[in-house]
């Protein structure tokens, strides 16, 4: 088990290396950082000198090699725009993104699974039909539009929720949390709905179809024949067996929630990493872009790892298999 985890973590280094390679090869096409760093009075010669000092004139492989070399020692450079260490800035911004991602993931799970179960059990019911058609909205509306509509209703019209930012932050060491104050939660509501709506829809539809599938199987019929209560059949037998794909999808989606919080964060001026990344793109702040992309790659690897480990917990068959396999070895 430990070997397995270690192996995966080492793999993650390779993934990050390749992400860095690919992103670095694309940075040349995003524009010239120097023109974003100086004012209009700076002469062409000074611009050229700055470009030289930043090493932007070096061949691609040299730039990339230098970056990887420094990154390996935990040195991610100084932001061109903010003139501050990138690692420090990412650490500052991470709590905002992670809290938003977690809350919206929990939101989509807590609502999505029961809705899916319900729609699966009462497939022809009126409410199920309503849920399904409403969920179409979640899939088809673009995130930024949902965000703006929410702002329009709840901030501008009703004046209930704040339209931007994270309210009521409390410091716990390095981590600034908004989860401990009412203000903080109020600011979280709209962004997490915006971010989680798509996932909610996805999970609901997935659970529903899985439930329909499982309810047709023999062991459910057998369970009913044993005279078990509906409750035991539905939740003890059926739901548990639908969970493996749900966990996979949720896990992978958590990665995308973190990565694609970019749009939500921008709409709500949520001070997370995604918003910082988007700003960095517009100003060609290469150190931030590179570090962010590598970090996201790392998240994906770790989340995948956790998902794989969860399989063991949920599905006893896997545990038996590996037991046998290691027995042979």
């Amino acid at each position: 088990m430990v070997a397995f985890i270690l192996r995966r973590l080492i793999q993650s280094l390779f993934v990050m290396f390749f992400v860095a390679l690919v992103s670095f090869s694309m940075f040349r096409f995003v524009g010239d950082p120097v023109n974003q760093m100086v004012g209009i009075e700076t002469s062409i010669a000074e611009r050229e000198a700055l470009r030289e000092r930043l090493g932007l004139n070096d061949p691609f492989m040299v730039q990339f090699g230098r970056y990887i070399g420094k990154a390996a020692t935990g040195e991610f450079g100084i932001s061109y725009q903010h003139k501050r260490p990138v690692a420090e800035m990412l650490v500052e911004r991470m709590p905002a993104t992670l809290e938003l991602a977690l809350v919206s993931a929990v939101f989509s799970l807590l609502l999505g699974v029961p809705m899916g179960v319900y729609a699966g059990l009462n497939r022809d019911g009126f409410i199920s039909k309503v849920l399904l058609s409403v969920s179409l909205v979640g899939i088809s509306l673009p995130t930024f539009l949902i965000g703006i509509l929410l702002i329009f209703f709840f901030s501008v019209q009703l004046n209930l929720l704040p339209s931007f930012g994270r309210g009521g932050l409390i410091d716990i060491g390095l981590w600034k949390t908004g989860l401990l104050t009412i203000d903080g939660w109020k600011s979280l509501i709209m962004p997490s709905i915006t971010l989680g709506l798509f996932q909610l829809t996805l999970i609901m539809r997935l659970v529903r179809s899985e439930m329909l599938e499982v309810l047709r199987t023999d062991y459910i019929k057998f369970a009913r024949a044993r005279g078990l209560t509906n409750r035991a059949v539905h939740f003890g037998h059926a739901l548990k067996n639908t969970l493996v794909p749900v966990i996979t999808i949720t896990g992978l989606q958590l990665g995308s929630i973190i990565a694609f919080a970019i749009i939500t964060e921008t709409v709500f001026q949520w001070p997370g990493m995604g918003q910082m990344f988007l700003q960095a793109v517009t100003t060609v702040d290469i150190p931030i872009m590179a570090a962010y992309l590598m970090l996201i790659a790392f998240f994906f690897v770790v989340i995948n790892l956790i998902v794989d480990l969860l399989y063991y917990v949920v599905d006893p068959r896997l545990r038996v298999d590996t037991g046998k396999a290691s027995g042979h070895g």
């Binding site: 524009g31 023109n35 209009i40 009075e41 003139k83 339209s163 709409v267 001026q269």
Partner: protein
């Protein structure tokens, strides 16, 4: 509104005795589309960065609401010789940390602003020596007479020598140094406001500085200022409408009506100093991006005039800018040039334009690419689309290449200058014609920096000569004559196609009063909350 009042009343009731003093608390919350890059006053010469810093730091001079120069840290100054300016410094001024302001701080700031890594070296261009006469007198010696020496000093902020040295901030922020400079996130100025806390791109809190030397004449009634950058246009508008913020800018053109129709919000509009214009490559023998091969049609003044006349700026003003622009015949704001009334735009005339093209040998027009930014100026891409349609009427097929500013500037600016036809905007930071003449219109020359932003390579020897005369002429009338002659040359040669001055658009709650300056600097000192 009523709800807020009730809530406020309830809060006041709850607070009871404790709340008595907080009734006077005037917190002002505002937003801009981005954040100042740094608090280091020499790290970036960019309007917003300098504008925010200008509430904390002060220069020897300052600009009043009408952009007239007035004394600030310098009480008075005189030109003792044509090349020697003597400044009497204000006594009794203290920095936010309590340090005294004196001649050493001016000398230190003069040295720091000219060091490598500073983006404001040009503020002291032409100054060869800065001498301390006594603790409150400083001489600036220039190589040649520089009549506009102090014009840009409203944004050359004076730093505290002792504070900078104690915190290792003697040098301007250098991004290649590999470490953060103390002055990036900390500030110690003499201005009306102090930094209380700052999280870059998230939130900056300022409080009034009680010991400000000009506190007796302060115009604001604030006790706290909270600044938040809000990048998304619609969110910024929503935050103002919902009353979460008291003021924000810029207001997106499409949301003007909404803010104006809401009883609680207002839009403040005014002319900005920025001129938007079209430039044409007149230097290369063959255009890089055109169907015409072997020659450059823009070398022919008739083609340039045809382009000029094909574009109906008033239509752009009406349809694209919704009235928020002033058509312009000059490359500088009419506010900044005395004889601007004498210059009139060429009348738009598609028929005449077509004839001119035919005369020049292009009866069927030709094809050309127009480079355009899409996130730099107000409605920049829409302006370009209108230009495309207008030129189509005279048979010129324009391919529009609209890009974000990061890619756009990398393509069209020197050294690449990879463009045949482009849209650009310019604000002379010195509020003076010489800046425009030298940077935008002068013949490009790497050595001296002349024509740094003359991407089309327009060139006229007499114009360059006049530029140099304007630089050192101290007699205002003569100087204006030179400028007039220069602009006439440019106009007759149709070297550029000026389009318009874009307008400022700030949004605010009705209970806020403030001053809008045409250089788009927002001064908290003039903000009142009722």
């Amino acid at each position: 509104m009523r709800k807020t009042l009730l809530a406020a009343a309830a809060a006041a009731a709850v607070l009871g005795a404790f709340g008595a003093s907080s009734a006077d608390a005037k917190t002002f919350k505002w937003a801009f589309q981005g954040d100042a890059q740094s608090l280091d006053p020499y790290s970036l010469s960019e309007t917003f960065t300098l504008s925010l810093q200008g509430n904390i730091y002060e220069g020897l001079i300052r600009m009043d609401p009408d952009l007239q120069i007035e004394p600030s840290l310098a009480e008075s100054w005189e030109i003792v010789e044509p090349t020697r300016w003597r400044f009497k410094l204000r006594q009794g001024v203290k920095f936010h940390n309590g340090n005294d302001f004196n001649a050493d701080d001016v000398l230190f700031s003069a040295e720091r602003v000219r060091k490598d890594g500073s983006d404001l070296k040009g503020r002291l261009a032409g100054v060869v020596d800065v001498l301390k006469v006594d603790d409150y007198t400083v001489d600036f010696v220039t190589e040649v007479p520089v009549p506009t020496l102090v014009n840009e000093w409203g944004t050359w902020y004076i730093m505290d020598k002792e504070w900078s040295e104690a915190n290792g901030a003697e040098d301007p922020t250098d991004v290649t140094a590999g470490k953060e400079n103390f002055s990036t996130r900390n500030a110690n100025g003499t201005g009306p406001f102090m930094i209380q806390s700052r999280e870059t791109d998230v939130k900056t809190v300022l409080v009034p500085y009680e010991g400000w030397w000009d506190a007796a004449n302060k115009e604001h009634n604030l006790t706290e200022v909270i600044f938040t950058p809000i990048g998304s246009d619609s969110t910024r508008v929503a935050a103002l409408l919902s009353g979460e913020i008291d003021m924000m800018y810029p207001v997106p053109v499409q949301d003007m009506n909404r803010l104006e129709n809401d009883p609680n919000t207002e839009v403040l509009g005014g002319p900005e100093l920025r001129t938007i214009f079209l430039g044409m490559d007149q230097e290369r023998d063959e255009l890089l991006h055109s169907s015409v091969k072997g020659k450059n049609p823009f070398k022919d003044v008739r083609v340039r005039e045809a382009f000029y006349r094909a574009i109906d700026v008033e239509l752009i003003q009406k349809k694209v800018m919704r009235g928020l622009s002033t058509p312009s015949a000059l490359m500088i704001s009419p506010l900044l040039f005395k004889y601007s009334d004498e210059f009139k735009r060429l009348e738009p005339d598609a028929k005449l334009a077509k004839e001119l093209l035919a005369e020049a040998g292009y009866p069927d027009g030709f094809e050309i690419t127009l480079d355009c930014p899409n996130n730099r100026y107000v409605n920049d891409e829409a302006i370009c689309q209108a230009v495309v349609a207008m030129l189509a009427r005279i048979g010129v097929k324009v391919n529009l290449l609209a890009q974000p500013k990061a890619q756009y500037f990398a393509k069209i600016l020197a050294p690449k200058r990879d463009t045949s036809f482009y849209l650009l905007g310019w604000t002379p930071s010195s509020f003076d014609s010489w800046n425009v003449m030298f940077n935008i219109i002068g013949t490009p020359d790497l050595e001296s920096g002349r024509g740094k932003f003359n991407n089309g390579g327009y060139s006229n020897a007499r114009f360059d000569e006049l530029t140099d005369l304007v630089l050192s002429e101290t007699d205002q009338d003569k100087r204006n004559e030179y400028i007039r002659e220069a602009y006439q040359i440019l106009h007759d040669e149709r070297g550029y196609i000026p389009l318009h001055q874009q307008a400022l658009a700030w949004g605010k709650r009705s209970n806020i009063s403030l001053v809008q300056r045409a250089d788009n600097q927002f001064m908290l000192n003039y903000v009142k909350v009722d």
